[in-house]
């Protein structure tokens, strides 16, 4: 405890006290009141936070963390760097603006990366990833993965072995790179040897027993040709360094192009280079019908633009659904609010019953009712309102989605409307009428303005829920009645383009959060009542 002279509260009191020095106001236990109050307030705050903390932590872990993790996928792109590290490095010095293909160095790097990736079966994953950006890369990688261990580079193995048969012995290699000087003189080969042995060890295989693969010889050849200084390190190496100039070189570029002619396609390389950073805006651009190419950002071809349409449609349909909910919900809420409590509560069960019936069942029920041979058409034909051949088309289009979703979301409109209307005293209406207002004027000028908060609450609730729906539109929406969420679901479970799904999801979530913020500002989240 500090003395009262250093307490800011009492300092205040002293300085403002005109020198008369009245003592600070004290609480019952003798501490200054201000401090005592502050302490009580702090304790109260602490107590409140302690009560909230368990749930907050619970929600953060079980809900917020997963969502954040999911949305983060929309920019992550490490797969290119991780699968083709050397290629990405080598491509940095290649100018994709020129029409020329990358040089032999890049092809060599790609060969090493590809060989190791194919051994680990990672190349096809990368192929799938890059196929989102350029059609055909998927099979290009698959084919090359199969071809890469049959490249003509095994010629180097024979060449080296002709100089000294011990080159073929993996123990030679293990011993060679155990020597730090050699590893320093031949950094690339040493690095590849390291990756190779790491890989073998994860497979529980002994590097000293496995064949030395041609790609290691290729790297050795290439480094020795580049003039790596190995003098005095090992007689075997010195002999090889002297002899490599007599080897006939193998063009790795040619090997790649023989495996698949697409490697000669400038666009393939440009795509790899464009998507080599660990984070990419590519998915987000894709989500707004644009694409990232080597030439920068451009719009997708018109016949592939879909997300713009879907976002617009999702918003348009959500607004329509919200409006329908207001139209249908308002009279019902008014009736409920103006009936005696007991009757209202019984009618309330009719509102809540569908609310608590399985969503799947309600959606299928709408299917049964709305289809051309369905209940509504049957009744209309039976009544003679329409002819048998003129049955109405009410499902697998926007109309079907709007009807089914209005039905599903209507209780979310009625409940907040009802709770607001309950608080409007009926005497206001009577007063207006007794002052000479007609029914309509009394309603429109007196009652309606007071019910607007309820409309606001219900509308935003309905809109937020509608915008994220996907099962109902999937079942009754056909092609024109589906939402952006259907596409997200498709990318998550069928096309496996999780990055794009995350980008679409982020945009959708941003829209919802803006609405939530508006809702909280206008209505306050505390004012929602359910049942």
């Amino acid at each position: 405890m500090t003395t009262s002279s250093t307490d800011p509260g009492s300092m205040d009191a002293q300085t403002s006290g005109n020198g008369a020095k009245p003592g600070p106001m004290l609480a019952a236990d003798g501490t200054p009141l201000k401090r005592s109050l502050n302490r009580a307030l702090r304790r109260q705050k602490l107590r409140a936070l302690m009560l909230i903390a368990p749930l907050l932590i619970f929600v953060l872990i079980t809900f917020i963390a997963p969502i954040a993790d999911m949305l983060f996928r929309s920019v992550r792109n490490e797969i290119v760097q991780e699968t083709l590290p050397m290629t990405v490095e080598a491509l940095k010095s290649w100018d994709e603006e020129t029409t020329e293909l990358p040089d032999e160095k890049v092809f060599e790097a790609a060969y090493y990366d590809m060989f190791l990736a194919a051994e680990q079966k990672l190349h096809t994953r990368l192929g799938t990833r890059l196929n989102y950006e350029l059609t055909g890369i998927s099979s290009l990688f698959r084919k090359t993965g199969r071809a890469v261990d049959r490249f003509d580079t095994d010629k180097y193995v024979d060449d080296f072995a002709a100089l000294d048969p011990s080159w073929k012995d993996p123990a030679t290699w293990a011993a060679m790179f155990a020597n730090e000087d050699i590893a320093k003189a031949l950094p690339q080969t040493a690095h590849l040897w390291q990756r190779w042995t790491d890989f073998l060890q994860t497979k529980n295989e002994d590097p000293a027993k496995e064949d030395v693969e041609p790609f290691l010889f290729t790297s050795l050849y290439s480094e020795l040709m580049a003039g790596a200084d190995v003098s005095g390190l090992s007689p075997r190496l010195e002999q090889a360094a002297g002899a490599v100039k007599t080897f006939t070189p193998v063009s790795i570029e040619q090997q790649f192009i023989d495996a698949d002619k697409d490697w000669g396609n400038h666009e393939v390389w440009a795509t790899i280079k464009t998507y080599s950073p660990a984070y990419t805006p590519g998915y987000f651009l894709n989500a707004v019908d644009a694409q990232l190419t080597a030439d920068g950002v451009s719009a997708r071809p018109e016949n592939e633009q879909i997300y713009g349409i879907l976002f617009k449609r999702t918003i348009f349909m959500s607004i329509t659904i919200t409006l329908s909910c207001i139209m249908l919900g308002y009279p019902v809420a008014w009736l409920l609010a103006n009936l005696p409590m007991r009757t209202a509560n019984i009618l309330m069960i009719l509102v809540l019953l569908p609310f608590w019936t399985s969503l799947l069942v309600r959606t299928s029920a709408w299917k049964v009712m709305l289809q051309q041979q369905g209940v509504i058409n049957d009744v209309l034909v039976w009544l003679g309102i329409i002819s048998d051949s003129g049955r109405l088309i009410m499902i697998n289009n926007q109309f079907g989605t709007i009807v089914a979703m209005t039905h599903i979301l209507l209780p979310f409109m009625i409940l907040p409307l009802y709770s607001v209307m309950q608080t409007i005293p009926p005497t206001y209406l009577r007063a207006a009428k007794s002052l000479g207002a007609t029914n309509w004027v009394a309603f429109w000028r007196v009652y309606f303005p007071q019910s607007v908060p309820g409309i606001g609450a219900g509308s935003i609730l309905v809109f937020i829920l509608a915008i994220g729906y996907y099962i109902t539109p999937e079942i009754v929406g056909g092609t024109t009645g589906t939402f952006i969420s259907n596409r997200i679901a498709y990318h998550i479970s069928s096309s496996l383009n999780w990055g794009l799904a995350a980008a679409l999801g982020s945009i959708l979530l941003a829209a919802v959060l803006i609405l939530y913020y508006a809702y909280d500002r206008i209505v306050g989240i505390d004012n929602v009542k359910l049942g």
Binding site: T128, T135, S139, R142, T202, Q305, Q371, G478, T482
Partner: protein
């Protein structure tokens, strides 16, 4: 790190594979089988799961109807290093994807599978059905077209192009909500010779041409996304014809006795079969291998045809295909592979769709949404 884990798991599999040959004793007693649900899963249950359980009363089987999301789920399980499935039923294109990504275990067919009843090796017996090193096919099914007999007048359709003939066959038709199969049929009916279809479909113009052909009936199409849709639509008289799997049509026609008939023209063959996820612990792998050997032998595959009209993937099973278990009708003529039915067929082009799926699908969906 993740890679290391995956590789370690792969190693465990390799070791387990050899260990299996040595001892039969250490087998898990619980298996989670993943399949499609519905009549197909029922045929698997009847034809090989129940007989297997009768022989091994201490084993229990849980079904997970997640085949439709199998690739996504296996990928996530693999990321997490926690494989909860033992044996997964998938279509061939998914199996190829899973195998490519190292999510499915490569299988030495001659070692793991039982030889055919006629003494042929599994490799010969399955023959060209072995489209991937990881994939053990069970059945051949086809996507084809069924129609309401009471809605087509006196001239029932005889070929696939009836789909596009709204003059003769007015009314709605149902097609699958994806480009695969529909694009091929559209080009075929637009006069492209069968052999050239994929060459045409590789080009922008070819894709547009297929979409233009589909556009002629766009207003008359109900697009389905689950196998149960077309049978329901046909039963309701909601569509005059629609594409679906031949087994579904068999069920509507023969079991439910609805006024429906089917076409075999231009049916598209596809396979359905098992994959074993990589990374199973030794005891579970041993159990799965034991089960798979039993479940894909000649007799079991032939038995499956008693419950559903899909053709066994083994050649040696064909002569053993008998009568339907409940209806007592000969199943042979209902097999998509029956020579009378297989006069004009397509085979799902896995290679082509692996490459063009993303691209054509984007165009197809954009076209649908417009």
């Amino acid at each position: 790190m993740k890679l290391t884990k995956a590789l370690l798991a792969a190693t465990a599999v390799a070791i387990a594979g050899t260990a299996y040959a040595a001892s039969h004793s250490d087998m898990a007693n619980e298996m989670t089988l993943v399949s499609w649900g519905g009549a197909y899963q029922n045929s698997q249950q009847k034809a090989y799961v129940e007989p297997y359980l009768a022989e091994h009363p201490d084993v229990s089987v849980t079904w997970d109807e997640s085949s439709a999301e199998a690739v996504a789920k296996l990928r996530a399980m693999n990321e997490a290093g926690n494989i909860t499935w033992d044996l997964v039923d998938v279509v061939a294109s998914d199996a190829i994807r899973l195998c490519d990504e190292g999510l499915a275990m490569e299988v030495d067919f001659d070692e793991v599978l039982a030889p055919g009843d006629d003494g042929s090796t599994p490799t010969d017996d399955f023959g060209e059905m072995l489209v991937s090193d990881c994939y053990i096919p069970q059945i051949v099914y086809s996507t084809t077209v069924g129609y309401r007999t009471d809605m087509v007048g006196d001239t029932p359709p005889t070929d696939i192009c009836a789909i596009f003939d709204t003059e003769t066959y007015p009314g709605k038709r149902s097609l699958e909500k994806r480009p695969i199969n529909n694009m091929e049929w559209a080009l075929l009916c637009d006069g492209v010779p069968k052999a050239e279809i994929y060459d045409v479909l590789e080009t922008e113009e070819g894709q547009q041409r297929a979409l233009d052909k589909l556009a002629t009936i766009k207003d008359d199409v109900i697009w389905w996304s689950s196998g149960a849709d077309t049978p329901q639509l046909l039963a309701d008289g909601e569509v005059v014809m629609g594409s679906t799997y031949n087994g579904r049509l068999f069920s509507v026609i023969e079991e439910q006795d609805q006024p429906v008939a089917m076409l075999w023209d231009a049916q598209v063959f596809d396979l359905d079969g098992w994959i074993i996820p990589t990374g199973l612990p030794e005891d579970r792998l041993a159990r799965v291998l034991d089960f798979v050997k039993f479940a894909t032998d000649t007799q079991r595959l032939a038995d499956q045809a008693k419950y559903i009209s899909y053709g066994p993937a083994r050649k040696s099973s064909a002569p053993l295909v008998g009568k339907h278990a409940e209806l007592g009708i000969e199943m042979g003529p209902h097999m998509p592979t029956d020579p009378a039915n297989a006069k004009n067929t397509f085979i799902y082009n896995y290679e082509f769709w692996a490459d063009y799926r993303d691209d054509i699908d984007a165009k197809f969906q954009a076209w649908l949404a417009q």
